[in-house]
Symmetry: C2
Subunit: 460 residues, 2 copies
């Protein structure tokens, strides 16, 4: 083992490269990057578009120079086109169309994901209609924002990136409408919490339209006419970020097995079924720690972890991916919105006997200035009292992200809900209460579960 | 079992009462409270004195009416004077000097702690010199602040409450000097972090004098002359909060065994060695989860936990205290200062082979506005790679309190440091990085430990 080749220069690919060099500095590590932007924080794009990050170069986790400084060779603007597992050769094409043959001993495929085009919408190719996933998408939107100075925008979708974009474009002074197919925005949350998010959007003058599928987008003079059943509006631009799919064609063509949504199948060591080929990040199936099965759950955090493990194992290590809990947080205007583990419906689908309690309290002692309300939902198993998941919504300065992480750490260890009360958590009046809100929530769950045969939330 | 008597109406006592009623609503629960202030947040006193909490009534965790509403009888202004374990009678005296005999089936002693008077200082009884521990102390100081409008104050001690008071009095416009016996303030931290705290105090014009023992306080006209070796200053008031000791005399006189610093000995069920007498809170020895031995470690969080367990067990439950990790946080001006577990020296004393790494990074992606530096020290065992403790200092809005709690949750489960990288923690650019700072710190620890046979911090 002397030559490690990595296809993909985003989270998983660069993590793999860095870890491989750290574990075994004798290995030659080369990363093939399809564009000119290795190791960019794709999650930061909304903040570039909002104007909060004026220079997009700042979105780089590391510069190309820093990566090279770790002894990693970067081949930018080269698209890997063929993997030949038998000869251990990858063919990549540069911008001039020239082919390059790259030998490897071990290969990490980290080709990421691509935006899904909602096939049912007509007019997605019109000028002023944008997808948002890559740096290139982002530059196109930025160009439109600066040259056309749009006054209004329609965002199709109500998920994480959509709502970050609603915030970002509002920040620029643009009048935003969010149109969501399902009955509520942020459908990864329980409806009572989605409602709080919806109110926050409206409080910032974002129009929220739910339960509506956009059918057509048409040019109307310099504007766009956006139509769905019983709905139409004119707008200056449309942003679509409805989802992603694994970019796994290259690996699949090389004979690597794929599964859910076409994602590459890997074991916990991030090995594919083809010898000496590893895969990591948004292009692979992800082991879910609670569901105890593979899912497709593309997240930057997971990509970093998987990349690090693939890189370590590819150079002789033996580390296993511990699994995802689907922990996520997003900031939308003044709110932090976070979840980890399973919601009630997801837990029921997975064969648990879930019981969910809603609980609200202050993030710290209410007498100390600046207290904010936390809205929490805790899900546990009625039979075993095991914690299954938690959701928290509240002010972005209420330490919600790290509170969900305490739940995530508890989930990692299969804690029972009542056991959360045994945790020795920190307290001072500006930060918490003697029982942290997550422990108060745990007590509410226990009390409610003991008092009821049926799932009636204590604070509806 | 039909009559539960509880001596003490602060954190442990009220927690015991509430839990007993919750577990067994048929039990009569009576709480004997020495003053008129049941269930007050003693930790909130500095914020009352700063003026940030204008009305001291707001410091109550619950009002007397709320406690009574849970079916708990409160006997205010009665001092328990004798416990007779054989007859199961407690004698309490009211303000008029009348004795009351109170029968019990089970008893919870939650008599708390008292301030330690530093014997070596002369002049502590002068007007203008105050201890700070009880509500009564707090009223006396408040009275002085409002009637004398002091312009300067000396705080003797450099621990949590002292520095909160330095902040509080500065908030009132008073010029503050902190005098600390040891070589640094906040000696519960490693020196490099204490130094950051010291700088923060000085940045807010607090004079910090370390390595100095105050010897005498003398009246000098309307002022006080405070002297130590090679030091003297005149000031308008002096606040002394150098420590607490268990208030365990009542129980000891009744034949209950005491141990460390005179604290009541209890088992994990919070039973004393006298049948049907439980004890909890600042008056008891506390089991340390990492040291695997009893210590004296009075904290409000622990008092709540122990009280809840004592109350549950006293009415027929069977729950064990899981142990303290010494998790603490305090806000001093703009800083949050937090720790959990063992520091290097404490770990070495306990027979571990500790290795400590210093690490600094941003609380969230630096490109997103409002990023703050976190200064972290992580201690682990060199032989087993087990996490032993962590300290974090940084801006109070950098989610430090809940980050220390992630460490505390990891410590609870005996995690190895490298295993922290397996935790599925939340990420969005306004809140963290794809590897949370605690994971970056863990990686720095692993790297540093692997590269070195000797404990050389990576970022000194």
């Amino acid at each position: 083992m002397s030559r490690l080749l990595i296809i993909g220069g985003s989270d998983a690919g660069i993590s793999a490269a860095l870890r491989a060099r750290e574990v075994n500095p004798k290995v030659d590590v080369t990363v093939v990057v399809a564009d000119s932007f290795p190791n960019y924080s794709i999650c930061g794009l909304p903040f570039y578009l909002s104007g909060e990050v004026p220079d997009w170069h700042n979105l780089a986790h590391r510069t190309a120079e820093e990566i090279a400084g770790e002894g990693i060779e970067l081949l930018l603007d080269r698209t890997a086109q063929i993997i030949e597992p038998t000869n251990k050769i990858v063919t990549a094409v540069d911008r001039q169309g020239r082919s390059h043959s790259l030998k490897y001993d071990r290969l990490v495929v980290a080709t990421g994901a691509a935006s899904t085009q909602p096939r049912s919408i007509e007019g997605l190719d019109l000028p002023g209609v944008y997808l948002l996933h890559s740096m290139a998408d982002s530059f196109a939107i930025h160009q439109h924002l600066t040259t056309h100075a749009p006054e209004s925008a329609v965002i199709v979708g109500g998920g994480y990136i959509d709502l970050e974009m609603a915030d970002a474009l509002t920040h620029r002074g643009i009048s935003v409408t969010v149109v969501q197919h399902s009955e509520s925005v942020m459908k990864t949350l329980d409806p009572s919490l989605s409602e709080i998010v919806s109110e926050e959007l409206q409080r910032h003058n974002v129009e929220v339209v739910t339960g509506l599928a956009i059918e057509t987008i048409e040019q109307q003079g310099t504007q766009l006419l956006v139509k769905g059943e019983g709905f139409q509006t004119t707008t200056d631009m449309v942003v679509v970020a409805v989802g992603v799919k694994p970019a796994a064609d290259l690996a699949q063509t090389a004979g690597v097995a794929t599964g859910i949504k076409g994602a590459i199948k890997v074991n916990l060591r991030l090995e594919t079924d083809v010898p000496d080929i590893y895969a990591a990040g948004d292009c692979v199936e992800t082991w879910h720690r609670l569901l105890k099965k593979y899912t497709y759950l593309p997240l930057g955090t997971t990509a970093h972890k998987q990349g690090r493990i693939a890189g370590e194992n590819a150079v002789g290590g033996n580390r296993e991916f511990a699994g995802s809990l689907g922990t996520q947080v997003v900031k939308v205007f003044e709110l932090a919105i976070a979840r980890t583990g399973l919601r009630d419906s997801e837990a029921a689908d997975a064969g648990f006997d879930p019981f969910t309690v809603a609980f609200e309290t202050w993030d710290h002692k209410a007498y100390y200035p600046g207290a904010h309300k936390l809205y929490m939902r805790i899900t546990g198993d009625r039979q075993t009292n095991r914690l299954l998941g938690a959701q928290i919504v509240g002010h972005h300065q209420a330490e919600i992200a790290k509170r969900i992480d305490i739940f995530a750490t508890a989930l990692f260890h299969n804690m029972k809900i009542d056991q959360l009360n045994d945790l020795d958590l920190s307290y001072a009046p500006p930060f918490s209460s003697p029982w942290d809100p997550i422990q108060m929530g745990a007590q509410a769950w226990v009390k409610s579960q003991q008092q009821s045969d049926r799932p009636i939330p204590v604070h509806a």
